[in-house]
Symmetry: C2
Subunit: 365 residues, 2 copies
């Protein structure tokens, strides 16, 4: 359900928020230590645990966008001199690598061509040559549209004794993500993708092993703002300690968005994302477009479409936005001008959105 | 103007937001690179420049709360081994010191007793014994209620060649703050104090000297998320480069809150804060309460009141909140149980708020 005057946001996020979510933000503010707000934090934590399919006690929302969630996971688990193995198959793996180096940690990489998933054998070979403290990988590469299978890699990582860190920014609440069953030790997401809340918050969750690693640190976390040993005293425990002032209104919106997810149920929500993807696929293929990613590894919520040479990327996206009020995403990095990224996230993973986009596209090309 | 069903937020922030600000957040989302949104960013930048009284080009809002703004200023201007002189007269000076050490910089401190301002002579003596890259100080210590005079200290800092960094979280839009005239090189604030927007954003501004120091860095900024050399490419220039997904709805609110400040005018807004403070002072003194801070150094928007022994801190604050729906702030650190912090910030710096608080307090004690 999208407001009448809204643009249809079918890029890499933000997606459109449900009116209930937007209205939640016009509630009067309350203090960040008000008992009523602490109750809202508890509700958010409980629903995040359900959505992540985890029992992890340290489950909450970082008070900043998904990239701050990424940084939270890495700066808390890494100390200078630690080794980290990062799987890179797009922009966000590269970003993790960059952060690892800023932590003073030793970076090892496993690379796959953009548009391909990481092969578990690559991880296996890499783990024979290094002993990283953590291995990190992107579940849903928003820059390429690849859905990365995680279970096999997780087993390899566990066997090596490393912590398993997953970027679920785009996958969370859109495709199956089983944090406990898949042995994920640290996971971060964003509020503005398949959760369809406004951007600005990053849901995260940490296993007991991850918390133990945090407790065993010899050095302070390099970021005060993201230091979990401080932040957790605000999010949990009987005595809530002031750390920073939480983004109250954004948390109201997050609570409402999570409530919508719970009302719908995770499985129906995932099915809705896949059905919308199938509809888009049929439509795009009938127009002669091809997917960048081979079948079996495609994300339903982020469809990377190859642009034929006669298609003028910029002018068509411009006309879609201005004349039809539909946003789709441009290619990032090597894919600039060569790929479109069509999002079907959260509220927008619906036949109406697909139809509206396809009919507009047909009018233009 | 406060909504009917709202609690009256007279603590250390958040303050109540104007209904126009809250309503702004229920507008449909747009993309973070949408031309309409880039225009909103430009409006925000222009109004922030006016509110900070600066021409600084690098003026924007960090996509996270005020403490992330603090960290932004320090991690971008400090490299490992650099020396930093931090003036400490409350919780937030301590927090800056903590961050300086996390940057691997050498910390020098000037301390004043909590409740007192920093004496310029202390800074002068300290600068005779060290050559810091920056000197940082809190303009409005939210933990003590002290208004720190800045002009004399600024001159000393300039003469030493150091950069001058100011925490204006609580002073911004509430008392006079002249970034250019006072020679401030880096300043950060929060959205939820005298600006009366929801918490979650941190307005910041950097002088050309600060930008030059950033450009001359030999090492990468330790935080990817807060790295100004990346963030600035999203906020300025012809070609806006994606860095992180901006908190769209919070930015709508920030724009509206700044618009309200511009409509009122800075000087009338400052006067309103002082007038409300005077009213509160009369009322509290007539009830026998005393201020923590001596006259001449009191903040109008954060009134630290000493608690007489017969006053039971917790139960009265509790009754104010539950029975009268008024939040006031507890003492922090050494002042826990000994001090109340009564906020008169932004929308709440009004006679009605003062009257409502005083009449409720009288009913309880």
């Amino acid at each position: 359900m999208i407001q009448n005057n809204a643009k249809l946001l079918m890029g890499p996020g933000p997606s459109n928020a449900h009116p209930r979510v937007l209205n939640a933000m016009s509630a009067p503010l309350v203090g960040h230590l008000d008992p009523d707000f602490l109750e809202i934090m508890a509700d958010i934590k409980e629903m995040l645990q359900k959505a992540f399919q985890t029992q992890n006690q340290l489950t909450f929302a970082v008070s900043a966008p998904g990239s701050a969630g990424m940084e939270t996971c890495l700066v808390n688990l890494l100390e200078p001199g630690d080794e980290a193995l990062i799987c890179v198959h797009g922009v966000f793996g590269n970003r993790m690598s960059d952060i690892v180096e800023r932590c003073g940690a030793r970076l090892k990489r496993v690379d796959a061509p953009w548009g391909e998933p990481i092969d578990p054998d690559q991880v296996k070979r890499a783990l024979e040559e290094c002993q990283p403290k953590l291995v990190a990988i992107v579940h849903a590469e928003t820059s390429t549209g690849v859905l990365q299978p995680l279970e096999e890699i997780s087993k390899l990582v566990k066997d090596s004794g490393a912590l398993f860190v997953v970027d679920a920014v785009t996958s969370f609440c859109g495709v199956t993500l089983k944090v406990d069953e898949w042995g994920i030790d640290a996971v971060y997401s964003g509020s503005q993708k398949c959760l369809s809340a406004p951007p600005g918050l990053s849901p995260v969750s940490f296993s007991e092993r991850a918390v133990e690693a945090l407790n065993q640190r010899k050095t302070k976390v390099q970021s005060w703002f993201l230091d979990l040993s401080l932040v957790r005293n605000y999010w949990q425990g009987a005595q809530r300690t002031y750390h920073h002032t939480a983004p109250i209104s954004s948390m109201f919106a997050l609570k409402e968005a999570l409530t919508l997810v719970m009302e719908e149920g995770l499985e129906p929500r995932f099915a809705r994302h896949w059905e919308s993807h199938e509809l888009l696929k049929e439509g795009m293929e009938s127009l002669g477009f091809e997917f960048l990613v081979r079948e079996g590894f495609r994300l339903p919520m982020l469809n990377a479409i190859k642009l034929p040479e006669m298609i003028d990327d910029k002018s068509i996206r411009q006309r879609l936005l201005v004349e039809h009020r539909i946003e789709i995403g441009a290619g990032l990095g090597d894919f600039a001008g060569k790929v479109w990224r069509i999002g079907l996230m959260g509220e927008n993973a619906r036949p109406q959105a697909v139809d509206q986009f396809l009919s507009s596209l047909k009018q233009i090309i």
